[in-house]
């Protein structure tokens, strides 16, 4: 096998902090190479250096035998290295074919012409999509395929993917991997950055593991197993306890029926959804992306409004409620912890302390209308210890923290408001392995203390580990309820997709 791309002693420093340190990397022709590591291990930076998005501070890169240094992504692309972003580089208001030829338009473009050639090209990739469809109407998988198609059209020989399967349904994954296989047969090399361990072990030829910006190991996948990989990622062996299923006697009995939802409807996302939530236990809601679980949670927390007519009914602690704004839900004790922390979870240019203080100020627990710096500092010190945020001090800006610490801040903000019902939406998405366990323990402790806890997740091991009760959501409604005792993963998955 010939080496397509090699990096030698590559480093990248950002104002003092080192993101990547003296990393050697080799990519062979036609191989699928996974790069694994915790958040902040330097995976993204390393691949961005390959794709010309980031300039390395040190080190050399060779591509097809020549030493190269790309000054921009477009230079890397014309050399044949493409990075596939998560749907960010498509123009949603344009059609598939226009996107395909974006940046290579002729001076006078004829739509019919590019539609025909796009059609032929997409067919050659076995990718069935209407070239005249607007990108805005495509699903996540189709957008990703379109990105790939665009890279292939530009004769990319190296394709880099950041979390390629995170937003895909099982069926979409199948199509995706079929396309990947074809590309590899044609000698295209692929780099995956992924959090999904099982998948990386199943599909890749070789695996490189980074930790704290350094390369820990590179080896052929068949020489590695799950436990070894996790140990290399975190520097210790905790994989055994990370997703240990709950034993039957640990299942918490239901407490008081705190929330009762009847026939809830909202637009096309939530349809006649009925279920109940009890205190003292963790109810997980399992469902695939797009099953309406997030929307249901947001209606309960007052972030979305349910349909005005025939919107159904919500009773919280016996009283019918209809929240117009989240602050009404918060003052009743319902708190929603978002799945999308960057865009609606925290204040990213502010400090840890200011983020926590925002939660206290808005909670109704803070009756005075003045603020005090000492109160803010004390609050931050207390909660930073309580939920184990690792940062140099409370003045650190949230944007500078790792995903795990950011998630803990969002959770801390929820807890400061002393909720009665707390809804976690994908609490461990984009969170490093060590923090996953800590967040799980936090969630368990809440249920032990008598709260009603809801965890929305699409990751089965998480369901197995946390649930006292399992609800399955599909097409806008809860379709099935399981007790964790005696139910198999297949049962749950079957309910979610059929």
């Amino acid at each position: 096998m010939t080496v397509v791309l090699s990096m030698e002693k590559v480093s990248k420093r950002y104002r003092g902090a080192t993101a990547v340190r003296d990393v050697d990397f080799e990519l062979l022709e036609g191989e699928l190479h996974s790069i694994l590591g915790e958040n902040g291990a330097g995976k993204s930076t390393l691949t961005k250096i390959m794709a010309g998005v980031v300039d390395p501070s040190d080190g050399t890169m060779r591509y097809r035998g020549r030493e190269v240094s790309f000054r921009s992504p477009s230079e890397a692309l014309s050399a044949g290295i493409a990075m596939v972003f998560q749907e960010t580089s498509l123009v949603p208001s344009m059609t598939v074919s226009q996107n395909l030829y974006l940046g290579n338009e002729k001076f006078l473009n004829r739509l019919r012409g590019i539609n025909i050639s796009a059609q032929q090209f997409l067919q050659s990739l076995n990718f069935t999509v209407d070239p005249t469809a607007l990108v805005a109407t495509l699903g996540a998988a189709q957008r990703q395929m379109l990105e790939i198609a665009r890279a292939v059209r530009l004769n990319a020989r190296v394709l880099i993917f950041d979390e390629p399967t995170a937003s895909l349904t099982p069926e979409e994954k199948h199509h995706f991997f079929a396309l990947i296989k074809r590309l590899r047969r044609e000698g295209v090399s692929l780099v995956f950055i992924s959090h999904a361990l099982e998948e990386s072990l199943a599909v890749s030829d070789r695996i490189t593991i980074l930790r704290d910006g350094e390369r820990i190991l590179t080896d052929e996948t068949r020489n590695l197993d799950r436990r070894e990989v996790v140990r290399a990622m975190v520097g210790r062996s905790l994989s055994d306890t990370l997703y240990q299923s709950k034993s039957d006697q640990d299942i918490r009995p239901a407490g008081e029926r705190i929330l009762d939802v009847q026939d809830l409807s909202m637009g096309a996302a939530v349809k006649n959804n009925s279920f109940s939530i009890f205190s003292n236990q963790i109810t997980t809601i399992f469902g695939l992306v797009g099953s309406g679980r997030t929307e249901t949670a947001k209606v309960i927390a007052g972030i979305y409004k349910r349909d005005f007519a025939r919107g159904g009914q919500i009773r919280f602690r016996g009283k019918p409620v209809r929240y117009r704004v989240p602050s009404m839900a918060v003052s009743d004790g319902i708190v929603y912890v978002t799945e999308d922390r960057k865009s609606e979870g925290f204040f990213d240019s502010m400090s840890i302390a200011e983020n926590f203080y925002a939660a206290l100020l808005s909670s109704g627990l803070h009756r005075r209308s003045t603020v005090s710096m000492r109160e803010m500092r004390d609050l931050a010190r207390k909660w930073r210890g309580e939920i184990g945020i690792r940062a140099i001090n409370d003045d650190a800006r949230v944007i500078e923290l790792s995903g795990g610490n950011q998630q803990k801040i969002v959770i801390g903000k929820a807890l400061i408001r002393t909720p009665r019902l707390i809804i976690f939406d994908e609490p461990t998405r984009g969170v490093d392995v060590a923090a996953i366990d800590e967040i799980h323990r936090l969630i368990q402790a809440l249920a032990d203390n008598g709260l009603a806890v809801v965890v929305i997740t699409s990751y089965l091991p998480e369901v197995r580990k946390l649930s006292d009760r399992i609800l399955v959501c599909r097409q806008g409604r809860i379709v099935e309820e399981f007790s964790p005792a005696g139910v198999t993963d297949e049962d749950i998955m079957f309910a979610a997709v059929h």
């Binding site: 978002t338 240019s349 502010m350 808005s362 603020v371």
Partner: protein
């Protein structure tokens, strides 16, 4: 926090746009004092301070709105029409107090409409306030007033005296500006609602999810901004003993946005404070004053303002490089 301390000016915390502006202002002041005859004289300095006060008060209101990630393009219309209509009412024989209360209510109403359009109508602030500004000017000029300029009737001697009033040799408006800055600083730094403005500006969706009353806060911001604009209007009117509504067509609005952005309040919201407005106002005030002494034409003045703004922003961009981790949409 550094409300009074000067630790942020020390080296070692990095050279920010704010420091660049302070250093530029100080250098210009010292330079003009030495080399420009007529600059460092009592009468000129009083004129300088007066200009800064009007710009600064408008800037405080604008700064408040911009921190909350909005913008208010109606300030100059409110400034002109509130003062002119008040004078008009006096001319029609209304007593000072009832005229004052009536105009105050109208100003609050205009601010509240701005706020409602933005918060509840979800119209982008730039369009809502542009329309409102045009409406206020058009309505005021066509329905409320007979002519462009409203003169304070000579029988209101107390009002006329206020315009020239000095305490310990310092014009009255300086005290008004200081008071406005203090009120705004205390509000932003030490009250819960002031902190809400920052949270809303930094991340609207997160603030809403947290249970912050985001929409009432937006309305409040625009009402406060309109009130500050009318205070600035009162000062202009008292100084000149009249109000010329053609001021709406001047570059005043751009100057206000200029000092706010120049001082370091980012248009992306959630950043900066009243201090930044003061520094921006000082720099532009000094510059405009010197250029007037030098008898520069308006066009040349605009050219120099543009270069200063570009220089400040480029310095900030070069000194504080943003990467994909830290940049935000709307950052400048």
């Amino acid at each position: 926090m550094g409300a009074v301390s000067l630790h942020w000016l020390l080296p070692g915390k990095g050279l920010t746009q704010e420091k660049v502006v302070v250093i530029m202002a100080a250098a210009l002041f010292i330079g003009f004092s030495i080399f420009l005859t007529g600059f460092f004289s009592v009468s000129n300095l009083i004129g300088l301070v007066r200009n800064i006060c009007v710009l600064g008060i408008l800037g405080v209101g604008m700064g408040l709105v911009i921190i909350g990630r909005g913008i208010d393009l109606s300030v100059v219309s409110v400034l002109a029409i509130s003062a002119a209509y008040f004078i008009e009412l006096l001319g029609q024989g209304l007593p000072i107090w009832s005229g004052f209360l009536f105009v105050l209510m109208l100003v609050i109403l205009v601010g509240a409409i701005n706020g409602f359009l933005v918060a509840y109508g979800e119209i982008p602030p730039i369009f809502a306030t542009l329309a409102m500004g045009l409406f206020v000017y058009g309505f005021g000029r066509s329905q409320l007033m007979g002519q462009d300029v409203a003169f304070i009737p000579p029988e209101f001697t107390t009002l006329l005296a206020l315009g020239t009033l000095k305490l310990w040799g310092v014009p009255l408006e300086v005290f008004v500006f200081v008071a406005v800055c203090l009120v705004a600083t205390v509000f932003l730094k030490f009250t819960k609602f002031g902190r809400y403005v920052y949270y809303i500006g930094d991340n609207f969706a997160a603030a809403r999810n947290l249970g912050i009353p985001v929409r009432p806060m937006l309305v409040l911001q625009y009402v406060a901004c309109a009130l500050f604009a009318s205070v600035a209007g009162a000062i202009v009117a008292l100084n000149l003993q009249s109000m010329n509504t053609r001021i709406v067509n001047s570059t005043l609005l751009y100057d206000v946005i200029l000092i706010v952005v120049l001082g370091g309040i980012g248009l992306s919201g959630g950043k900066g404070g009243i201090r930044n407005v003061v520094f921006g106002a000082l720099l532009i005030g000094i510059l405009v004053n010197a250029m007037t002494i030098l008898d520069f034409e308006d066009t040349h003045q605009n050219l120099i303002k543009a270069l200063i703004l570009l220089a400040a922003i480029m310095t900030d961009t070069l000194l504080n490089q943003r990467d994909e981790q830290t940049e935000k949409q709307g950052d400048i």
